[in-house]
Amino acid sequence: MDALDLARWQFGITTVYHFIFVPLTIGLSPLVAIMQTLWYRTGNERWLRLTKFFGKLLLINFAIGVATGIVQEFQFGMAWSEYSRFVGDVFGAPLAMEALAAFFVESTFLGLWIFGWDRLPKKIHLACIWAVALATNLSAFFILAANSWMQHPVGVEYNFETGRAEMNDIGAVLTNPTVLAAFPHTITAALLTAGTFVAGIAAWWMVKKVRSGDTATARDVYRPAVILGLVAMLVGGAGVAVSGDQQAKLMFEQQPAKMAAAEGLCESTDGASFSILAIGDLTNDCDGVRHLIEIPGLTSFLATNDFDAPIRGVDELQDYYAQWIRDWEEANGVEATFDDDTRFYPNLAITYWSFRLMIGFGIGSAALSLAALWLLRKKGTVTDKQWFGTLGVAAIATPFLASAFGWIFTEMGRQPWVVAPNPDPSGVDGVWLLTARGVSVVTSPATILISLIGFTLLYGVLAVVWYRLMHRYAVEGVAESEKDPSPEARAAAGRDGSDDDSTLSFAY
């Protein structure tokens, strides 16, 4: 393998891995904030117990998300230095903003939340977890603005002298229609992930408690958690579907080759069908694709809201891109960046299947939400049906898988480009870059191989530890009681709030 392949594997592995933890952090921090708010508002101890229980799971997860996130920011320069030179003027800005506006808030207020239970007034302490929740979501916005720019470069012009993309409109970068669709898609997916996580664990516990005769705990503690998770799932699920449809329409316009490949659509067609099942031969090119099950006209409808609209297939798009880029390079005296073998559409099988697996796993949570809606439809009911608990646990993994395949789809689908050229009306001539031209030129394959092996081994070990910790804390269940640790409660109990000899309510 050459440096390019190794650098791509490394980026793929470290990024998909990082994004196992990120959606749970983004979605769970507001849910924990809501639980703590309910405790603050109602004074009902169940919400404190739930806050502490899901708060511990959040923190276990937060740590590994933060740790693996550092790699992401360094990796652009380390393995993709030529990409960084080409885009730095525009791509660096949202990254720096993310650190200044979001990471500082997130890290500082998380520290205050973890250690501040007995030092901060209740209201301030509650504000800390909300600050964390908002900052994680804000961070998602900035990094998605950066990624969306790679999918749909806006607010830039090409500098012929330096051969670089240069920003001329930060407003356009931050209101890129692509990020305005990708951001809601990602945070609602995160909400779906966290909702399924909360509802799944609480459903399993509810069934277990009812079956062991502790119906009171099942009803008073776990049922409300299932309901909260369920609401998050319904809001998240609806948001994912609507924003996903929006994204698909944009993508047909901005990256037609990605969407054509996602449908295995080789020849341009009026009223293109949506493929449910297709198989290809091992050559993985157009001649080998056979569509077995299709819904007529649906692809055209998804792209344009018109069942009969024409959709361009990859064969036509191949010629279109080759000609467009070559004409532009010749007209402007720019050195040729590709040869006749260059394919201007992504790997068909990966794009086709990752798109379907994203959608398929995405509706995995629906089974749990429908079951929960039915079984818990009457106020205050709990259930002892074992299958419901099992379904809860089984459903937890599905949104994680959907997110992973979603990223594999959108990043692999952008190939062979790292910065995708967009056809009219919104494309910017010259602002595109083949992935092969973005990789670092001074890092040897051996060097990247060392880090690829190092990261993969370390990540493998950490994944096992993370899973065992999450599992262990989930099966421990909600504590039977939690003492109010706030300074107010201690003052009410007649002890001085600034008592120097008291032990800390929390310590590492």
Binding site: A63, E98, L100, T108
Partner: protein, 362 residues
């Protein structure tokens, strides 16, 4: 002032924030393997970890911000530096990853072997970056082999030259002393006394090594005479660290060691300017002009930085105020972590390991 100069200064400020703040939490992390005494090792370690517990994560973000700001303001510098220093940065990343996880996960499982692994991660994860940041900065200021395309072509082993290795020793000693002083400032009882003793001794070694390195830098690699002022400030500050540490004036010692770090950053960046990465062949050097983003991007980022940085300083400062109390072993609660074996009561495991704490909670 030119915008490129503004950003050169801002990036120096971000690195100052990182080295002053994470410097002491690296120091405390390294001292985990040195200071705690047999008999009360576990509780002393926990005192140490908890003095930095609420703040280490916020300290580390200064690094991410410095990295992101370099990317945004000087993309060529970011690209050359990060691809050229690939292996040292990879090692730093490994260290930071295990360190972050160890902080958060250490207390989650109540088992002596589990904690031993977390401590190894914290100690390794603090030593390695302390050494490597010094090596990296020394190489930047010394100059590296860049070709006409501004690519670093010197290879990994060229980074391990005497000046750079001494730089690694200097940052490690500074962080050890800075961390010991911070610990003495934030703890009480026996651990405070031993941290103070350590700082009193290590500050002398720091003064010698850092002083020698600074003079070497100034004589060999600095073009301007004014950076002698930074050498002088650093030297005076380090002498004050020695005096204050010996007199156990912890607050003064901490301010002095922070000033020494600031002076070191001023010396490094001051002797770089107007280069950001000098090359052996001066024609190939990366400078604030040829490495910079466009004026438009720098203007946008200036607004963002000017508005947000003071706010960050305010709430981070507030955090230090909230957690201003000195910690002792008496403050450390019993282990609340679970055990992987569910039938094993947590408290028993803590007691049987012989290093559980005084108060046993459920």
């Amino acid at each position: 002032m030119e915008l490129t100069t503004v950003w050169f200064v801002l990036i120096a400020v971000l690195w100052t924030g990182y080295l002053v703040l994470e410097g002491f939490d690296f120091g405390v992390g390294m001292l985990l393997g040195i200071l705690p005494k047999k008999g009360d090792k576990e509780r002393e370690r926990r005192v140490m970890i908890n003095t930095i517990g609420p703040v280490w994560d916020g300290n580390e973000v200064w690094l991410l911000t410095a990295g992101g700001a370099t990317f945004a303001a000087f993309p060529e510098w970011y690209a050359t530096l990060f691809s050229g220093f690939y292996l040292p940065l990879f090692l730093i990343l490994l260290a930071l990853i295990v360190r972050v996880c160890a902080f958060e996960w250490r207390g989650k499982i109540n088992d002596a072997r589990w904690r031993a692994w977390a401590d190894r991660a914290l100690i390794f994860g603090s030593w390695l970056p302390s050494v490597l940041w010094g090596v990296a900065f020394a190489n930047i200021v010394r100059g590296v082999e860049l070709d006409a395309d501004h690519q670093y072509v010197g290879g990994f082993f060229a980074l391990l030259n005497p000046f750079a290795l001494l730089g690694g020793v200097v940052t490690t000693l500074i962080f050890l002393t800075h961390g010991a002083i911070f610990l003495a400032l934030k703890s009480d009882g026996d651990i405070r006394r031993r941290a103070g003793d350590f700082a009193a001794r290590s500050s002398v070694a720091t003064l010698v090594a850092a002083g020698a390195w600074a003079i070497w830098l100034q004589l060999a690699y600095a073009d301007a005479a004014w950076t002698w002022a930074a050498v002088a400030v650093a030297a005076v500050a380090l002498v004050l660290v020695v005096l204050a540490a010996r007199a156990r004036r912890e607050g003064q010692a901490f301010v002095a060691s922070a000033v020494a770090i600031v002076a070191a950053v001023v010396l490094i960046f001051g002797s770089l300017f107007p280069d950001v990465m000098p090359a052996f062949d001066a024609a190939n050097s990366l400078t604030v002009d040829n490495a910079a983003s466009t004026d438009y991007t720098l203007t946008v980022m200036t607004w963002v930085a000017v508005i947000l940085t003071p706010i960050v300083l305010l709430y981070q400062g507030w955090t230090y105020w909230v957690f201003r109390k000195r910690l002792t072993t008496e403050h450390i609660p019993a282990h609340t972590g679970l055990t992987f074996r569910r039938d094993e009561p947590a408290a028993v495991a803590g007691a049987s390991s012989g290093e559980g704490s005084g108060t046993i909670k459920e």
